[in-house]
Amino acid sequence: MARVVVEVMLKPEILDPQGKAVQGALSRLGFAGISGVRQGKRFELEIDGELTPERITQLHDVAATLLANPVIEDFAVHAGEASGRAR
C-alpha cells in the first residue's frame, strides 16, 4: 500500500477569484504582509501493491484525465522518491 499525493493548481495566468477572496479576508483580519493567495486542490490516493514506474505513469494519466483539467490547471504527482511534475 502506498500513498500518492496529487496537487492541482490553476495555471498562473488563470485568475483565481477564490484565492483573491481569501487574501481579502486575511487583510481584513489584520494579517499583514501576505501579498498573494492562490487556492489549489490536494488529492491523496491509496495505491494497492507496489509503486512501479508503470503505475506512476498511469497516475499521471489519472491526474491529466480527471483530477486536473490541463486547459486551466497544472498538476504534480508526488509518489515518495519518484515524484514528477507535469504542466
Binding site: Q18, N69, V71
Partner: protein, 223 residues
C-alpha cells in the same frame, strides 16, 4: 424530429429545455445520464444545473457519464449538440469545445436578463438569427467566465466560432465577452446564457431564445 435532453444528477433546467423543444414543434425525449443510449434522437441538449454537485470541477464528472460516450460519438458524427450553462461546461470538459469555464471574476453568482449579440449563424443552433441580432435571455451562473489561451481565442475569432457575445456591463469576466462558441463544423454549440428560459411570454424576459430551438429543426442529421 426528436430532440433529446440529458438529465444528470443535479441538472436543473432539463424540464425547461424539454418544454422549449416541445414548443418548437419537435418531439422532446428525456435521456438519462446512466444510459449510453440516445434513443434514436436527431439532436441533443445538455441542460443547465449543477451536475454531480459541481464536485471536482463543473462538468468534470458528467463528462464521464455513460450517456456522454454516446453524445461525444454522435457529435463527431455531426449530430447537433447544444450545451447550455452547465452543459457548456460539460462540452468543454469533454473536449468537444476548446477552453474552459471558471469562477466569475467578481466572485458573485450572477442572475439577470442579459443582452447578447449573435455573431455566428452558420451553426446548427443559430441559423434562425441574423448576424448582429441583439437578444435578451436569462444568464445565471457562478462559474461562467469563459477562458482559453490567446491562440485559441484568436482562432475562434478568425474562424467565426464566437457564436454570441455579452453586451453591456461584463457579467462574469469572460474572455473577450464570449457568451457562446461552436466547434469547427458548427454542430456543437456551448452557450452560458439560457435560451430555454426565453421561449414564452408568460415567463422570461423575451421570446428571443426560440431561435436556438427552431434553428436545429433545419439542421438535424437523421440518426
Amino acid at each position: 424530429m426528436r430532440i433529446g435532453v440529458v438529465t444528470f444528477p443535479g441538472s436543473l433546467d432539463d424540464v425547461d429545455a424539454l418544454r422549449a423543444v416541445r414548443w418548437s414543434g419537435a418531439e422532446a425525449v428525456s435521456l438519462w445520464h446512466g444510459d449510453a443510449d440516445l434513443r434514436g434522437v436527431d439532436a441533443v441538449v445538455l441542460p443547465g444545473g449543477f451536475s454531480y454537485g459541481d464536485y471536482l470541477r463543473c462538468g468534470a464528472i458528467a463528462r464521464f457519464a455513460p450517456v456522454m460516450t454516446a453524445v461525444v460519438a454522435a457529435a463527431r458524427d455531426q449530430m447537433p449538440v447544444l450545451g447550455i450553462c452547465n452543459g457548456f461546461q460539460v462540452l468543454c470538459e469533454a473536449h468537444l469545445l476548446p477552453g474552459a469555464l471558471i469562477r466569475n471574476s467578481h466572485r458573485r453568482f450572477v442572475c439577470r436578463d442579459q443582452r447578447l449579440r449573435i455573431e455566428a449563424t452558420g451553426t446548427a443552433w443559430t441559423s434562425a438569427y441574423e448576424v448582429g441580432d441583439e437578444i435578451v435571455i436569462p444568464l445565471k451562473n457562478g462559474e461562467g467566465a469563459y477562458v482559453a489561451d490567446t491562440g485559441t481565442l484568436d482562432r475562434l475569432e478568425a474562424d467565426g466560432r464566437v457564436v454570441a457575445r455579452y453586451l453591456g456591463a461584463d457579467p462574469n469576466g469572460a474572455a473577450r465577452a464570449i457568451a457562446g462558441i461552436c466547434n469547427q463544423r458548427g454542430n456543437v454549440v456551448g452557450l452560458m446564457p439560457h435560451p430555454e428560459h426565453a421561449v414564452e411570454e408568460l415567463c422570461g424576459p423575451s421570446t428571443d431564445g426560440r431561435g436556438f430551438f427552431t434553428s436545429v429543426l433545419a439542421a438535424a442529421v437523421p440518426a
